[in-house]
């Protein structure tokens, strides 16, 4: 019988939830009790809402325990390892019996995330044991021509997972067809969309899959050098990539005549991004790798023709590369079995915001948004009502509840006015103000605009000013019309994706939540009760007992009244901090 294995999930989110302490506790138990089990590390399996996660694999199978803090770790080791009695109520996922959280995995098809949370990302042997590097080996041993590789990717229907949705196979063919002594392959790991974290999770959980995808891409287009452009905010991802690259070199997956393929010389290095959202755009990213300000360049020429150092360059996103080895090994047909007519395969979504099961899920294209949020995501917390979901980050838009049966594929999502983007799904409930959300994104794009195009640089600023005054109760009658006019101008007159899509969050909220804008502007009210300047706190005379607690605690002394008599709020002094509202035990304060 094999030894029992205990695996602790040590991704960034697990560590943030305290997984390092859990790991150390189990390690010390292992040493002090002289128990016989193997302790391993893995990365994120996607169940962020149950972190820290600990998996125990014994003779019966696998048990994943959730919310394992140090105390729970002691309990689990004592019962499961020593007494051999699994603690069923702490198990969140297993094939051995039904758990509430098994649903989280039922609708998932894990291709890009196939190894995440299962292997030790710092061990190349672990990756190899799960068919890792089997795809590039297949190419080498079966002597598969680059043209066949490109055709497979074309046939699979894989489209760019970074948001653009352009055919990956086409991109590769363009880069292959441009003759040059030097060509580059770049991995865009500058995941800048606030609300998306699948690339971080993939790099932390399965760095070799990304490397293998790049190696296959390099073989296909004839590249000699690879660059991974990674955000500096992801230190763990960078560390694990560095380890993986070093291991790849030692094992001969990187370097000269890779796996004996004559003339196939290829190596990869990491470039740390310096913090600029616009560098997610291909040509801006190239400028940044070259050491310049990350400003987009005019296309054409496209990078496939003239990219990094003016040489043919292919850029794909992390998730795109992670799919490649699977497609090459299992075949294009196997991949295109999943998905819809024009969007094949699977997509990883990052669920966050007002949702019970926040985390990473990988689902076949064609599933409805409602299924993702309610079946996998477990619905909205605290009995609140689902209002909208934000897809595509600052370039995307808000899809309202009544469109929740929209299926996820590139074209259906585009039809709503949002975009698929990199797959960030931020769920909003009735307490989220849609004008505030639009303002939030505009503030972001306005700060991140590189300044090259006038309409993006100044237009977003003017739009933000309008949104600011609307949420402050100073909105003017003509503001909605002005926003719409500016939005069209910015979209039409910007060079790159950032400017062309920056107005989307405003346009989609105007389309679906126009009444909220109107309430802010004309009635000076925020229906979601989120915009502070538009709130009024008042004391309900019938309910006030004169306990004085609100008056004592009010930070600006805006509440007057004597003991056992009805109190009053002096509106002009009130700073709308809400302290009285949350403190009153008699529900005697109204919020409108």
């Amino acid at each position: 019988m094999e030894k029992t294995t205990v695996i602790v999930g040590l991704g960034s989110c697990g560590i943030a939830a305290g997984a390092n302490k859990t790991y150390q506790k189990i390690q010390s138990l292992l040493k002090s009790n002289q128990l016989d089990f193997e302790l391993k590390k893995t990365s994120c399996i996607g169940m962020c809402f149950r972190e820290p996660l600990v998996e125990i694999i014994d003779k019966n199978g696998s048990y994943i325990y959730g919310n394992v803090d140090e105390n729970r770790a002691i309990e689990i080791i004592e019962k499961h390892i020593i007494k051999q009695e699994p603690i069923k109520e702490y198990v969140v996922k297993t094939d051995l019996f039904d758990t509430e959280d098994n649903k989280f995995f039922e609708a998932q098809v894990r291709i890009a995330l196939r190894h995440c949370g299962l292997i030790d990302p710092e061990s190349i042997e672990d990756y190899e044991s799960q068919l890792g590097y089997a795809a590039i080996r297949k190419i080498a041993t079966e002597n598969i021509n680059y043209e066949v590789v490109i055709q497979s990717i074309l046939d699979s229907g894989l489209r760019g997972r970074g948001g653009g949705g352009f055919s990956t196979g086409m991109k590769w063919r363009f880069a292959r067809n441009n003759k040059s002594d030097e060509k580059y392959i770049i991995c865009n790991a500058d995941e800048g969309d606030p609300g998306a974290f699948m690339d971080r999770s993939l790099l932390e959980g399965d760095p070799h899959a990304v490397l293998e995808g790049m190696i296959i891409g390099a073989y296909a287009i004839g590249a000699t050098e690879g660059v991974i452009y990674c955000r500096a905010e992801y230190p763990l991802a960078i560390k694990r990539l560095e380890i993986a690259i070093e291991q790849g070199r030692t094992k001969g997956y990187l370097g000269k005549s890779i796996l004996g393929i004559k003339g196939f010389n290829f190596d990869i290095h990491i470039k740390e991004g310096a913090g600029a959202f616009v560098c997610g755009e291909e040509t801006a990213l190239i400028a940044s790798v070259e050491g310049e300000r990350g400003m987009p360049r005019k296309r054409p020429p496209f990078p496939a023709e003239s990219g990094l150092w003016r040489k043919p360059t292919n850029i794909n996103n992390v998730e795109t590369y992670a799919n490649i080895p699977w497609i090459i090994y299992n075949g294009a047909t196997e991949y295109s079995k999943y998905g819809t007519e024009k969007s094949k395969g699977t997509k990883v979504f990052a669920l966050a915001g007002k949702i019970n099961h926040s985390g990473l899920v990988e689902v076949p294209m064609g599933i409805t948004i409602r299924d993702i949020i309610f079946k996998l995501g477990g619905g909205i917390p605290n009995g609140k009502k689902f209002k909208a979901v934000q897809l595509g980050g600052p370039s995307g838009g808000c899809i309202p509840e009544f469109l929740a049966d929209t299926v996820v594929d590139y074209d259906s999502v585009n039809a709503t006015g949002a975009i698929m983007g990199s797959g960030g799904m931020v769920v909003m409930d009735e307490a989220t103000c849609m004008v505030d959300i639009a303002k939030f994104f505009l503030n972001f794009t306005q700060e991140e605009s590189c300044g090259k195009c006038t309409f993006c640089r100044i237009g977003t600023k003017r739009m933000l000013e309008i949104l600011n005054r609307i949420t402050e109760g100073k909105g003017k009658d003509e503001d909605i019309a002005k926003l719409e006019e500016l939005a069209v101008q910015i979209k039409d007159n910007s060079l790159c994706g950032l400017g062309q899509t920056a107005p989307n969050p405003v346009l989609t909220t105007l389309k679906y939540f126009r009444d909220e804008y109107e309430a802010h502007i004309f009635a000076k009210k925020c229906p979601a009760k989120a915009c502070k300047a538009l709130l009024t706190y008042e004391i309900i005379e019938d309910k006030c007992t004169g306990c004085t607690i609100c008056a004592i605690k009010c930070p600006v002394k805006a509440i007057t009244g004597e003991r056992k008599k009805v109190h009053h709020i002096i509106q002009e002094n009130c700073i709308k901090c809400g302290d009285c509202y949350s403190r009153c035990k008699f529900e005697a304060i109204s919020l409108t």
């Binding site: 960034s12 600029a276 050491g291 990350g294 966050a352 915001g353």
Partner: protein, 172 residues
């Protein structure tokens, strides 16, 4: 409402008292390599915590990189700063997920507790407070990062406690 980030400080710090030889190996490593500007600036900032004017001049003289280009790049990217920062940089996440989970309350609580505004440094040079766009911990929002440690599912009170703990460790 999102807290406005302070405008980036475009002036150099004066009264620098630094050992410029600390970046000799860095310059030697990247000198003459194409695309070296950003890695050199990143290395310099890692050494000094910010980008001192004298370092700019030294790098320019030894590598031939133009001062104007260096300044252009340094002021373009969010990562670079021209003024010293506190020993610990508190990065409060204001990504979408953190925003809808009320990240503003975290920033406000820290501001009140440390008596500084966003982008400022405490008088004892222990802490600098920054708002950042997204730390990628969206499922554990609201989050903040101090050094390489990420703290998740915070309340304003918890955030202040974490900072107080660091403070008391520092004074021991």
């Amino acid at each position: 409402m999102r807290i406005e980030r302070l405008k980036k400080d475009l002036d150099f710090h004066d009264n620098d008292n630094i050992d410029l030889s600390l970046i000799d190996t860095l310059i030697a490593k990247y000198n003459g390599k194409k695309g070296n500007l950003i890695p050199i600036l990143q290395g310099t900032q890692q050494t000094f915590g910010y980008l001192p004017k004298q370092a700019f001049i030294k790098i320019s003289e030894e590598t031939g990189l133009k001062l104007s280009e260096m300044y252009g790049v340094a002021t373009f990217y969010a990562q670079f700063r021209l003024k010293p920062v506190g020993k610990h940089i508190i990065k409060v996440c204001h990504g979408t997920a953190c925003h809808v989970q009320n990240a503003n309350a975290i920033t406000e609580a820290i501001q009140e507790s440390l008596g500084i505004l966003d982008g400022e440094t405490t008088e004892d040079n222990l802490f600098t407070l920054e708002s950042v766009a997204c730390l990628g911990c969206c499922s554990l929002a609201p989050a903040m990062m101090i050094g390489d440690d990420t703290y998740a599912k915070l309340t304003g009170k918890e955030a202040v406690n974490i900072i107080q703990n660091i403070k008391s460790k520092e004074s021991n």
